[in-house]
């Protein structure tokens, strides 16, 4: 579904709350249409989208383009709660959840994840009329910081007027420092007695991927247990950031991590990924998609290899190579997409890959790992040990010591009840792959490895990039990636040049929805979005998504979120 247009980035001119810029996310087209109409009737500016990933894209593109997000809880590509978390962490916008399910536990979950409200479907228009209060409330808390902005003396720090809101909004929207403004909140406290002494007041800081990475890095440096806002702030060395900003972000981060911890029950059925010690990169770089270059040119230290892949992939894949599966060649790939570095150790304990496979992450991981195995092992090491190779699941920090290293945990977290089901389904494929390994030192039938399902062009692109990345990296090693080309996936359209392949050529027919055995041809049109993924929201972008967000893509667009999704969806089908 396409989003409607709306004026972005510019603060509302009309009297608040008219013109409130709302982003509605719901996979149900009927509801999307109804909500859009309802919101328009409230004189709000509405943008709709039916995929969580799309929503995040939009939000990222226009950091200050929206005032509030309304999202359904159940969506095919991503759990609504995850989206909620991301929006909260990155954009700090109020998010309202919706669902036809009003079970207390669900509502509680929503609140726990930071939703400012939870609406039950069917939604009445009168419920939508008042959503502006959430925006206003947040503004009040932020106004303090806004005050210090230049030329802002006139701001009336009273709780009454809209003007307060407008000014605040205006400031936060047009800030020259691109959305981050800040200064020491301490000064402001005195006369601007604004509102409730809410402890959560914070400046409208936009936690970009870069910023967040700095944060995570600092956290890890200090040691998660000993961390404190002041210490983090000092380490981060971001002049305009305040202790309050960091404190509130830390709070969210902690919640996020603890949630991940709880969800993780893996241990043995997880493929985590260890980032390789790429010499050319610093820790963050090797993982960060924005670093583009994570490849070690030709220099393949034992036990490590890296190849371009989506970050998400990288994150969840932990290849503990067995036996001779040592270093993988890494080709320098100026991959515009995220680069992934994977450590392959000579461990023999890798568990059956089936574990994490059921999840999208898992799928992706396995796909990636397979790809890497396929492509690299033959190169340097006898492949005889392949059968023994098992992927050890590791919940190790993926991100090179990044705080979000916890992200791999999401992998395990993905393994929820549904996991068992999918696991079983994945297994046969795995076994097949394994046997392929044994038989071929070279490329393995890609068809088996990449039964790809694509839900959208972007998905194709994602996988495509992954493939091309691997491909190019492989090529340098003279590893035939023919199998990739044989993949039923749009690899046919794959431009052999690797990076930067024109994604547009990707066929849209690929859409075989493989999900837990539910195979339905899917059209690109989201209308027909196969709901088979519905039952496994977690399958989609759980961990990788987190990672993705952290690693984020900057304007270089190293990592396209849709790619991630694609990989999740289609890489390993």
């Amino acid at each position: 579904m396409v989003l409607a247009e709306s004026g972005f980035s510019s603060p509302r001119n009309d009297a608040f709350p008219a013109g409130l810029r709302v982003l509605v996310v719901d996979d149900d087209p009927t509801w999307l249409k109804i909500l859009e109409k309802m919101l328009k009737k409230c004189s709000y500016e509405v943008t709709t989208c039916c995929l969580a990933r799309e929503a995040l894209n939009l939000l990222r593109e226009r950091k200050d383009g929206y005032d509030i997000v309304i999202s359904d809880v159940n969506m095919p590509d991503m759990d609504g709660f995850k989206l909620l978390e991301h929006v909260g962490l990155e954009m700090d916008l109020p998010v309202i959840m919706m669902s036809v399910d009003g079970e207390t536990s669900r509502v509680m979950k929503g609140v726990q994840h930071g939703a400012c409200d939870y609406l039950l479907k069917p939604i009445r228009m009168k419920e939508l009329r008042n959503i502006w209060q959430h925006v206003f409330r947040k503004k009040i808390h932020e106004v303090r910081d806004i005050e210090s902005l230049e030329g802002f003396e006139s701001i009336q720090m009273t709780r009454s007027g809209y003007d307060l809101f407008d000014d605040g909004h205006f400031l936060s929207g047009d800030d020259t420092t691109s959305g981050r403004k800040r200064k020491d909140a301490d000064n402001k406290h005195d006369d601007r007695e604004l509102s409730d002494p809410s402890s959560t007041k914070k400046a409208r800081v936009v936690w970009t991927v870069d910023l967040h990475q700095k944060f995570v890095k600092a956290v890890n440096q200090i040691g998660f247990d000993k961390v404190g806002p002041k210490k983090i702030l000092d380490l981060m060395n971001v002049p305009w950031l305040t202790r309050e900003n960091v404190a509130s972000h830390l709070q969210k981060y902690r919640l996020y991590l603890s949630r991940l911890q709880k969800e993780s029950d893996i241990k043995n059925s997880f493929i985590g990924m260890k980032h390789s010690d790429l010499p050319s990169k610093d820790s963050t770089a090797s993982f960060g998609p924005h670093k583009a270059m994570n490849m070690i040119p030709d220099d393949v230290p034992n036990g490590t290899y890296s190849f371009s892949a989506s970050n998400s992939l990288a994150q969840n894949v932990d290849l503990k190579g067995q036996g001779d599966l040592k270093g993988i060649t890494s080709a320098p790939v100026a991959e515009p997409k995220g680069a992934l570095s994977i450590d392959i150790h000579d461990s023999h304990e890798a568990k059956s890959t089936q574990m994490s496979f059921d999840h999208s992450l898992g799928s992706v991981d396995s796909a990636v790992s397979f790809a890497s195995f396929n492509s690299t092992t033959p190169l340097q090491y006898p492949w005889t040990e392949i059968p023994e190779i098992q992927f050890k699941q590791e919940c190790e920090p993926l991100h090179l010591e990044n705080g979000f290293s916890q992200l791999p945990l999401p992998g395990p977290s993905m393994i929820e009840n549904e996991a068992n089901r999918s696991r079983i389904e994945v297994k046969p494929l795995l076994d097949e792959c394994r046997s392929n390994f044994v038989e071929h030192l070279g490329p393995v039938g890609a068809e088996d490895l990449f039964p790809i399902q694509s839900k959208s062009q972007s998905l194709n692109n994602q996988v495509f990039d992954l493939i091309s990345a691997t491909k190019s990296s492989m090529k340098t090693q003279d590893v035939g990636l023919n199998y990739l080309a044989d993949s039923e996936f749009a690899l046919r359209n794959l431009n052999a040049s690797g990076v930067g392949v024109p994604l547009a050529t990707l066929s849209e027919d690929l859409q075989i929805c493989w999900l837990q055995g539910d195979c339905y041809p899917m059209n690109y049109g989201l209308q027909d979005l196969e709901c088979s993924t519905y039952d496994n929201p977690g399958l989609m972008a759980e961990t990788p998504f987190h990672l993705y967000d952290v690693l984020r893509f900057d304007h270089e667009h190293l990592f396209d979120p849709t790619e991630y999704y694609a990989i999740d969806q289609g890489l390993f089908a």
């Binding site: 149900d28 087209p29 009927t30 509801w31 249409k33 109804i34 109409k37 309802m38 009737k41 359904d72 159940n74 669902s99 036809v100 399910d101 479907k121 069917p122 009445r124 228009m125 009840n417 549904e418 089901r421 837990q516 055995g517 539910d518 339905y520 209308q527 027909d528 196969e530 709901c531 088979s532 519905y534 039952d535």
Partner: protein
């Protein structure tokens, strides 16, 4: 009471939809959203609903062909379907979805099958009624305001 015979007929049809429990208050919400900018809003939404939900119905059907039943998946599908049905106020259909979900939760395969059959019946009946209703509505021309059911 409408003077225009078509409008009168339309009003009667509409009323019976409510009286027979086919639609609920949400339908009125849709009617209230209809305006000059979207003069056929209700019909558009209902059409969209039938188009989209057909897909879900198909999924459920296929899922019911696989034994043993994957109750979790069935429940998830039905959850989706229920959400969708709530959007147009399809009361009976929605009620049947709830029953189906309960059967899923208790692992009652037989109950699921029966419930699903019933649901499909209601779904089809409603569709026919809507078809006739909107056809007449188009003949009647634009109506000013929606009238609430008694």
């Amino acid at each position: 009471m409408e003077r225009n015979p078509i409008r009168r007929q339309l009003a009667i049809m509409r009323q019976s939809l409510f009286d027979q429990g086919h639609v609920d208050e949400q339908f009125v919400q849709l009617e209230e959203l209809q305006d000059d900018a979207n003069p056929n809003f209700v019909e558009e939404v209902v059409t969209l609903y039938y188009r989209d939900s057909a897909r879900i119905i198909l999924n459920i059907e296929q899922a019911l062909e696989r034994k043993p039943f994957d109750f979790r998946k069935l429940d998830a599908y039905m959850h989706q379907f229920k959400g969708s049905s709530s959007s147009i106020g399809a009361k009976k259909v929605k009620a049947e979805s709830t029953l189906f979900r309960e059967c899923c939760k208790s692992g009652n395969g037989e109950g699921c099958m029966r419930s699903f059959q019933q649901l499909k019946k209601e779904y089809a009946t409603l569709r026919k009624k809507f078809g006739a209703y909107f056809q007449l509505a188009r003949q009647a021309g634009p109506v000013e305001t929606a009238s609430r059911p008694k």
